[in-house]
């Protein structure tokens, strides 16, 4: 790679110098705005109301986006924005999991707000360079790089015509291009997408980090909801930030000793308990593969089944063999959970990088299940290759896996065939077909281009062509709000069905993962119990996104005495750590209740933002029946004893003498009715109407009765 030639081809479009400023109690108190229509670069102040009501991170992203767009704005309109915001706590290094950012935009998948959390260095570096958020609006005429020079206080927009798009190359090139020297590589962070994000709505963003141990650039992903597609539609090739080198107290916190004390205690837990608990340090989230299989929660063949006989070929022992653990397996400095596992020197066997040895970031659990069991692939090398290509092409592994599984079930049912796919035999387990599909997405051609728009658009396309029954495709197409499901079977957990489909952005498990509480522990038997869980956990977990925190250190290791606490599922000691850290960074003393209210304010704001865009109501919280129960006879028969038993014991219908169709119909009627009752209970608990609209009284109670919110909900409440 001739980096000098790439650099020489750059053309400066605009530049602006700025005073570097200081960070005060976690905040820089300003954001950076870049408009690619007119190349404007300016600073915006962070108002006291923003900090009070929206806190930071996702809250800032939503506030800025609301002010930037109109109710009718679409994802590819110039006024749509991409906002990256790290949150006030992001950037400390004395506690694990403190380097996250949230990316917010209008999604091409859902046409509503998407928020996607991501590790890597960009978020903290943005803050160290002087900004609490980066807000990008408009569309460039040609491919550009936005460079934030946090050393010299300068922001530039540069035309960048020559660099390749694929992230494993681009992030490396730009790290070297913008660093002062080799020692400075670690201080450069790159945000990029990939060649497939030019064509596919499932495009994602890669956030780089320079791995000091491996001397290589690595990538973490803001995967969900197609923000990579928005990024490339704006003709952004990359965003680069060069930061002062991280050191102890970059945030000018109020009380560093308290952060250190909690951090050291947490680090002891990791050292003493991780090997006997989740093994995050050696396996990452891939430790879950066989656990999910054992509990019949591992999606197999498009979520039809929860287990597979070949699990040993892709379980965590296999991944542990592939991984090369190093001290630098963290996506931010100071994280001792260090779950960002990596496969080194993996030889690619297909596509444009065939024969090359590459570094693969992952697979995490979601990827192993998504591009593995869910599409019937039980071959670790194929999973690694799909993982690598999804990352470098800029594709979300979760959506790729779930939509490929849907296409494979369509193939199985005659909705697709070789003629319709252009020769791809998309049957379950066909690795070559899955790999060719991903390469077609990169090239923007063939069936890959159709599939890359996501399940919702595929269903419409197939139905419009007369290829299949839309009702059946709606049942098996695992999407809600237009976003593909992440990788857990929710059929036997009503609470998790809500945890998926009652989310603001679509079915991602980062709001609530309640399957064990509900299905296995049977701790939340009533609708009110489930509603309480579907209030507390989504609000609690929203808080991580306000702060710039990773969720994993909260509950992927537990303190020694956690079992003795009143509510071990909440890991009370770790919650107390977070309250302590928030106070130690910002000086604001909050309790558990205020923590939840901070999230509620932002959560309800997002709900009303969706309503403002014509969605966000009860109808949009509907789920595909595959998420709730058996769609096909094959599924019913695979667990016939269980389903027959439920008919008799729970539904009150004697299955004796009934046909499979009759039993399936009765099961479906019951489960669909249960979900409607759950919606009622959850909406009531969340302070919403039966239609899913936040009430004015609830907004007043939260201190969120802002005029712009009342204006949106009032007409709906009067109906």
């Amino acid at each position: 790679m001739d980096i000098k030639a790439f650099k020489d081809a750059h053309k400066l479009i605009n530049e602006k110098t700025y005073a570097l400023g200081t960070i005060d109690k976690g905040y820089t108190n300003r954001t950076l705005y870049v408009n690619l229509d007119n190349n404007e670069i300016k600073e915006k102040p962070v108002t006291p109301q923003m900090k009070e009501k929206f806190i930071g991170g996702k809250g800032f992203g939503l506030r800025l986006l609301w002010d930037a767009v109109k109710p009718e704005t679409k994802w590819n309109d110039p006024e749509n924005e991409i906002i990256i915001a790290p949150g006030p706590v992001a950037g400390i290094t004395a506690y694990s999991g403190t380097g996250k950012s949230i990316v917010v935009s209008i999604s091409p998948m859902t046409d509503i707000i998407i928020d996607s959390n991501v590790g890597g260095y960009f978020g903290p570096y943005l803050k160290f360079s002087g900004f609490d958020a980066l807000e990008i609006q408009g569309k460039a005429a040609k491919d550009v790089i936005i460079f934030i020079d946090g050393i010299n206080g300068k922001v530039t927009i540069e035309e960048a015509p020559e660099e390749p798009l694929d992230s494993h190359i681009l992030a490396n090139v730009l790290t070297k291009m913008y660093a002062a020297d080799e020692k400075d590589y670690r201080n450069v962070a790159v945000v990029s997408a990939g060649s497939a994000a030019d064509h596919c709505n499932i495009g994602m963003l890669n956030f780089s980090l320079f791995d000091l141990s491996r001397k290589e650039v690595r990538l973490k992903q803001a995967g969900r909801g197609g923000i990579g597609r928005v990024f490339r539609d704006k003709n952004i090739k990359a965003i680069v930030c060069r930061s002062p080198q991280p050191k102890g107290d970059m945030l000018n916190v109020v009380d560093m000793n308290s952060i250190k004390e909690r951090g050291q205690k947490f680090n002891r837990e990791m050292r003493e308990f991780d090997d006997d608990q989740c093994e995050m340090r050696t396996k990452g989230t891939a430790h879950l593969v066989e656990i999910m299989n054992e509990y019949e929660l591992l999606p197999t063949h498009n979520f039809k089944f929860g287990q597979h006989a070949d699990i040993a070929k892709i379980d965590s022992k296999v991944w542990k063999e592939w991984f090369t653990p190093r001290a630098s397996d963290a996506c931010w400095y100071g994280c001792t959970m260090a779950c960002a596992k990596t496969v080194e020197d993996f030889e690619v066997r297909t596509g444009p990088y065939k024969g090359r040895k590459v570094l693969v970031d992952g697979p995490e659990y979601e990827t192993a299940a998504g591009v593995g069991s869910n599409i019937g692939v039980f071959n670790s090398e194929v999973i690694l290759e799909l993982n690598f290509y999804c990352d470098t092409y800029g594709l979300d592994t979760i959506s790729f896996g779930t939509l490929t599984a849907f296409a494979m079930e369509c193939w199985e049912n005659g909705i697709l065939n070789k003629e319709r796919t252009g020769g791809l035999e998309l049957c379950f387990g066909n690795s070559d077909a899955a790999l060719e599909l991903i390469h077609q997405m990169s090239r923007g051609e063939g069936f890959g281009l159709i599939a890359g728009q996501g399940i919702r658009k595929m269903k419409k396309y197939f139905a419009d062509k007369g290829w299949g029954d839309i009702a059946f495709m709606n049942d098996i197409g695992m999407e809600n709000k237009g976003l593909e499901y992440s990788q857990y079977i929710s059929k036997e957990s009503l609470a998790q069905q809500g945890g998926y489909a009652m989310t603001n952005k679509g079915p991602q498990h980062d709001e609530a993962w309640l399957i064990f509480m509900d299905k296995v522990n049977k701790q939340i038997p009533t609708f009110e119990d489930k509603a309480e869980a579907l209030h507390y956990f989504p609000m609690f977990r929203t808080w991580f996104g306000l702060m710039g925190l990773c969720k994993l250190p909260w509950n992927d290791v537990e303190p020694a005495n956690n079992a003795e606490t009143d509510e071990p599922a909440k890991v009370p000691e770790h919650v107390d750590n977070y309250l302590t850290i928030f106070k130690a960074v910002t000086g604001r003393d909050i309790d558990n209740a205020e923590m939840i209210r901070q999230s509620e304010r932002v959560y309800n704001f997002q709900r009303i933002f969706n309503i403002r865009m014509g969605k966000g109501l009860r109808a949009h919280d509907a789920q595909p029946y595959r998420a709730a129960g058996p769609v096909t006879k094959e599924e019913y028969l695979s667990l016939q004893k269980q389903y027959d038993g439920q008919l008799k014991d729970i539904i009150g219908i004697d299955p004796e003498g009934k046909s499979i169709d009759e039993k399936m119909a009765a099961t479906r009627k019951f489960r669909e009715d249960q979900y409607e009752k759950l919606l009622d209970a959850v909406y009531k608990r969340r302070g919403w109407t039966r239609g899913g609209v936040p009430t004015i009284e609830h907004l007043q109670d939260l201190g969120m009765d802002l005029p712009e919110l009342i204006e949106v909900v009032k007409p709906l409440l009067e109906k």
Partner: protein, 68 residues
């Protein structure tokens, strides 16, 4: 007539000398982050193998969350 215990709401046939570890194996509860209570009393992990469950007991095996 056989005797039973209740494990997470489900009946399980009880056998003489049945330990907490036996129950976890029978139920295929392989997840590592578990809290076990017998009739509401916490049983620490270190003594699961030797803790015998009485007939008729109510056993809670609380799986904590992880992942995601």
């Amino acid at each position: 007539m056989s005797q039973t215990i209740t494990v997470n709401g489900d009946l399980l046939e009880w056998t003489e000398g049945m330990s907490v570890s036996d129950v976890l194996a029978l139920k295929k509860y392989t997840f590592k982050m578990l809290v076990v209570k017998i009739d509401g009393q916490l049983i620490k992990k270190a003594i699961w193998p030797e803790t015998v469950i009485p007939a008729g007991a109510t056993v809670q095996v609380i799986h904590l969350m992880s992942g995601g």
